[in-house]
Symmetry: C2
Subunit: 341 residues, 2 copies
């Protein structure tokens, strides 16, 4: 069944999308249905982050299911809040919808966002829904909180700090490469079945990334407060350079320490891509990159999923990768810069 959005109108659509929403956070005082949502944070710092996703730039609906897209759009915002050492609590959703979408399509998209909210304990508290002349536009703002003094920015890294990353790198980019390849192969073929055999992990990393709430919780449990932190959305190189610039430091990371999944390595070989390049510049991993004092080495090394990949230096030493054969290569932000594509 397909329902034209015009047949229910803006307010009818919003009613359907927000039906049955029940806030789970005590900080959510008033949710959807007014000019603004009301939240209350008497004792903690409030974090605010915004991300915009545009059809044709950030996603391709020929291979991204709408529910996955909704899930991802929410999760990448949660990731920004975790990257400040906070907990996401509320989101508002701005949506621009062109006439080719039906009510059911937008319900699918919302189902993904609502699922992500459920999984991460976040309330969808408001937004704006409008028509678009050109494809789907998603803009999500996430509100979160952190105890005062526990917020971690990009600007606190110090000389001799350890550089840590979570999970593995480059897999989301390899998933994108795979999806793009299968799209080309299947173009024009009816009932084409893409071949993802043995590469399911890469596809999942691209289509359904998760934010590293587990790491934030593990760091708190281990009583480790990172000196700086950022999430890896544009590639490790780019994010390392952000930390170095904001903290006025340099860094050395080791090629042989970069965490890379086996499937990523196989796929990189298949498409003849340098593996370190994929790990350094592939975007959308949504892993955490953070620094801790050298004295935290033992405790941080014990956290599953965290790997020490290098160390912070004085600013004048610059930011560089040390290759397997010992060469120093300056890091460059050639990652996912949508503005220069």
């Amino acid at each position: 069944m397909e329902t034209e959005i015009s047949s229910v109108g803006e307010f009818g659509l919003i009613d359907r999308l927000t039906e049955g929403l029940k806030p789970v956070n005590a900080s959510t005082v008033r949710s959807v249905g007014d000019d603004a949502a009301v939240v209350r944070y008497p004792d903690t710092d409030v974090l605010v982050s915004t991300d915009m996703l545009l059809e044709g730039v950030h996603f391709d609906l020929t291979y991204v299911p709408l529910k996955h897209l909704g899930y991802k759009a929410a999760v990448v915002n949660f990731s920004d809040i975790y990257a400040m050492n906070g907990t996401p609590r509320q989101i508002t959703v701005g949506l621009g919808v062109s006439s080719r979408f039906t009510v059911e399509h937008i319900e699918e998209l919302y189902a993904g966002m609502r699922l992500a909210c459920q999984v991460y304990g976040v309330d969808l508290v408001g937004g704006d829904t409008t028509s678009s002349r050109a494809g789907l536009v998603i803009s999500i703002t996430c509100i979160g909180n952190a105890a005062p003094g526990r917020v971690v920015g990009r600007n606190g890294a110090k000389d001799t700090d350890l550089v840590c990353v979570t999970g593995d790198l480059g897999s989301a980019y390899m998933g994108l490469t795979l999806l793009e390849r299968e799209k080309k192969v299947g173009a024009g073929q009816k009932d084409f079945q893409p071949d993802f055999a043995g590469k399911e992990y890469l596809v999942e990393r691209q289509l359904k990334p998760e934010a590293r709430r587990d790491i934030i919780e593990a760091l708190a449990k281990a009583d480790i407060l990172p000196t700086s932190m950022i999430d890896i959305s544009d590639g490790l190189s780019s994010e390392l350079l952000h930390i170095c610039k904001s903290s006025d430091v340099g860094c050395r990371v080791y090629e042989d320490r970069l965490p890379i999944d086996y499937q990523t390595a196989v796929m990189a070989e298949t498409v003849n891509m340098n593996l370190a390049t994929a790990a350094l510049n592939g975007g959308e991993d949504y892993e955490l990159l953070f620094t801790v004092p050298l004295t935290d080495h033992d405790r941080v090394s014990q956290i599953p999923g965290v790997k020490v990949i290098g160390y912070i230096t004085a600013a004048e030493k610059g930011a560089a990768l040390i290759t397997r054969d010992g060469a120093e290569i300056p890091l460059q932000a050639q990652g996912f810069n949508h503005m220069s594509e």
Copy 2:
């Protein structure tokens, strides 16, 4: 001088746009340059509102200067916060920019947003800037605050309350009509000069609306707490119906009490439009619509710019306009519904 955005890149552009930003609110703890902004509201409720503006749907750059557009995009968000009886404090700006825009264009847009922030005492604390395949996309989220117990929603109107509006109605819509007409007249003509003589007020209402901070301050000074409030973005009828639905009440408003500017009346006659229709359904006035207890009649009537236009009834009486000749016409939300256009 025109600078291609690709020549400075996303981060170069953001650096230029946010240069010299100095927070003015004590609640702004950390501004642009990290994964999230940090705000602090220990003693007050926090209001969060999002608005999305899309080229070709909400604005037409053939007659909207970019600086005005930036100003308006910010102000309409402030208006949502005032409509909750709050004070806007921070905004985040999501921006999608297609390749036909230069760095200077986006600086113009930002100049307008920054001017609005300056005028209203708001801090621009973050956002996301990305490329767009299809025109300009602006998504702004506004954070504001109100003392606990002072937040006014749409849902508190009670039988016998007075219905009040600020300023005048229909002028922004008449401004739009005028701009559209001059665009048609001038189409294809080089050096065409549109004729706005005597109608400058209408053009200004459309291109450079203001949010009614003055009214919120005047209400506080007069110690009046409205029982319900909303800003008029989609037309008086639509907003009255929102209040009636949320508050489970009906209303009667009088045609001869609707505040209408002289220029609006002249323009409506010129284009052969019913004046009450323009006032009831013309969107984008960004005036405030609110209800107060009957006992506040004398005090609210003394506030300059506020007009009592009717009263709240029990829900079963429905929402209606009483015409000049005494007829009752049910209110309909036929205003600015972008989804059903």
